[in-house]
């Protein structure tokens, strides 16, 4: 089965758009969910997880296709790596917060710290993800920012 189409521009445009929209909706749902609104909590659960998976795909696409010889392509490539780093660190921060809360490492303020860690972490990963997908979407109009398909995919 040929999978080269996922690296074609039309698909990448829709993909970037979808990633951005899902992440923005996740952000809004998380905010409303933190207010205690159950439907938004349920929505946030799905949207955050889906957004994270889509974001990983977006990062892969950008790393594979961005043209590092072009300024915008170079920026996109670096942004993809930074987003990957931010996503990894954000989830580690969340995990740290969970441990703080579970073992009450900071006494009575442990749960507040955990919520703050999670909020900061999810905001960071969503913001970087939205930026990456938005710039990626924009850059798809720029001819120089993207490389040709790898040989084994364009065959």
């Amino acid at each position: 089965m040929k999978l080269g189409f996922v690296l074609e521009r039309p698909f990448m445009r829709y993909y970037s758009l979808t990633t951005g929209i899902v992440l923005i909706l996740a952000f809004v749902s998380v905010l409303l969910g933190l207010l205690g609104l159950l439907p938004f909590q349920i929505a946030a659960s799905f949207l955050f997880d889906a957004g994270l998976v889509l974001l990983m795909g977006q990062i892969l696409l950008v790393i594979t296709r961005s043209n590092r010889k072009d300024t915008l392509g170079w920026i996109l490539g670096r942004l993809a790596y930074v987003t990957l780093l931010v996503a990894s660190l954000s989830l580690l921060l969340m995990l740290g917060g969970i441990f703080v809360n579970s073992f009450q490492l900071l006494g009575s303020s442990s749960s507040t710290v955990m919520t703050a860690f999670s909020a900061v972490a999810s905001t960071a990963v969503i913001c970087f993800g939205v930026c990456l997908s938005a710039i990626g979407y924009h850059a798809l109009r720029e001819g120089e920012s993207w490389r040709e398909l790898p040989e084994y995919l364009s065959e």
Partner: protein, 476 residues
């Protein structure tokens, strides 16, 4: 011929031959000439890349090993240690695994199709191992619901759950915590309840706001009878959650057995525990056998009965909750408090409305756990003593058997799921006793240490319904 080499430059090919610089002819040579500074800069720039690669390979290797141990080796010592935290923490680490794979592919195998494929398969394997437990939640939830319906019938479906958790698992709560209303309870810590001249034993009291009396939860910590403590060692958020829902929670110490007094052969496993958890345990002067530990727990119930009004404790509605070794002690309270074998051990005035045993040891006989020898204590022969201290024996021997809720992870290799959890459940059912088994999918021992994890959430969801229904007199 003059050497037309600028200051600070040299020919690459003769770097390995010190003293030969003078023989280098720059002009007309086909070899590449680099500036010395440029070369050094390149080398320096390569260092972070190699460090990053090393970290990425290490991350991937550790993740592969952890996943393999989790999936296939959960009964070994390292296995149950890994399984204890893997399902709860791995999803958060999966992005780091993904990042490591991307970096490895980018810097090692970008042009190598086979290399990309291998790294991708390894990454996919780890991620699948990470999320496998979550796929098992719906089926285990359905099984638990079925048991609740069988015992409580329509009372289970018509129960007022407005103040309870709305679903067995919420990913949102996993990220942001299970909400606990801190203003609805007070906490008083380190209250002395027993001074035996050698050691002092304390408990923490989580008191709901209001007049009371409140239904009681006696929480008994785990630690293989040799380590552990109340407080941080006994899932504080669990105690707070139920205190905020109107239960007076008593989190107690009960004494620990000193592993240095064990013979070498028996000590191996328990010394592993001691090495892990001695820093979290109280420094008792004495060593307490399991028999003495249950006597201390019994003493607490008597003290609570005497002071029930001071502690706003409703002794007619007592639930006993324990984890691991604490689950074992909770099983002895549940099944032994009206049993002649334990005459005089427990409060005579209390009524246990339910036993809630997290990943307990239910069979202390030699077939269940091996010979525990001097750890058992007591005056009976080891065989009789191990029977007296086993829920699997007491369930068939007791006339009063309060309803039991067992919560066990089906990858528990320490208090083995099949031999300790499932076997007891089947025995209780065959005897016609009220027993519910909530299986936490793909979870190991101590699955609820992280209270907001799926194990903690699932167990809380069923425990609060179980207690509410038993208090309402349903299922009797």
């Amino acid at each position: 011929m003059s050497l037309a080499i600028d200051k600070g430059t040299y020919v690459t090919s003769i770097r390995s031959r010190p003293g030969n610089k003078q023989r280098a002819y720059a002009a007309g040579h086909e070899q590449t000439v680099h500036t010395f500074q440029g070369d050094l800069r390149l080398k320096l720039r390569a260092i972070p890349r190699y460090v990053l690669l090393l970290l990425s390979y290490s991350c991937l290797a550790v993740s592969v090993v952890a996943t393999l141990i989790y999936l296939f080796q959960n009964s070994t010592t390292i296995g149950w240690l890994v399984t204890m935290l893997y399902p709860e923490t791995a999803p958060f680490l999966s992005v780091a695994v993904f990042a490591s794979s991307v970096i490895i592919v980018r810097f090692s195998f970008m042009k190598n199709r086979r290399g990309v494929l291998v790294v991708s398969i390894v990454c996919a394997f780890i991620v699948m191992g990470t999320f496998a437990p979550y796929a098992g939640i719906p089926s285990e939830t359905a099984s638990a619901d079925e048991q609740m319906l069988e015992r409580y019938g329509s009372a289970f479906t018509s129960l007022d759950t407005s103040s309870m958790r709305t679903m067995p698992y919420s990913a949102f709560d996993n990220l942001y915590g299970v909400p606990i209303e801190q203003s609805t309870f007070d906490t008083e810590k380190d209250i002395l309840y027993l001074d035996n001249g050698v050691d002092k034993f304390y408990f923490d009291w989580y008191r709901p706001v209001g007049e009371g009396p409140f239904p009681v939860i006696i929480a008994i910590h785990g630690g293989a009878w040799v380590i552990g403590n109340k407080g941080r060692g006994n899932v504080i958020p669990f105690n707070e959650y139920f205190a905020s829902h109107g239960y007076a929670v008593f989190d107690i110490q009960y004494g620990l057995f000193d592993v240095t007094t064990l013979p070498e052969q028996q000590a191996a496993v328990f010394r592993t525990f001691a090495a892990i958890g001695s820093g979290f345990s109280p420094n008792y002067n004495g060593s307490y056998t399991i028999q003495q530990q249950i006597e201390n727990v019994g003493y607490f119930t008597k003290m609570l009965e005497l002071n029930s009004s001071a502690y706003a404790a409703d002794m007619d509605n007592v639930f006993v909750v324990g984890r691991s070794a604490g689950g074992h002690l909770a099983s002895l309270v549940t099944l032994g408090y009206r049993n002649p074998l334990y005459a005089g051990n427990f409060s005579a005035g209390m009524t246990v409305r339910g036993g809630i045993w997290f990943y307990p040891v239910t069979d202390l006989t030699s077939t269940g756990t091996g010979n525990l020898g001097t750890m058992l204590g007591g005056t009976l022969s080891p065989e009789e003593e191990s029977k007296k201290l086993s829920a699997s024996f007491l369930i068939g021997n007791s006339t009063v058997t309060p309803p039991i809720m067992l919560l066990h992870g089906n990858k528990d290799g320490l208090a083995d799921y099949s031999r300790q959890g499932l076997a007891f459940f089947e025995r209780a059912k065959s005897l016609g006793k009220a027993c519910l088994l909530v299986t936490i999918p793909w979870a190991g021992h101590a699955f609820d240490l992280i209270f907001q994890s799926y194990g903690g959430q699932m167990s809380t969801y069923y425990i609060e319904r179980f207690m509410a229904l038993e208090l309402a007199g349903e299922g009797a």
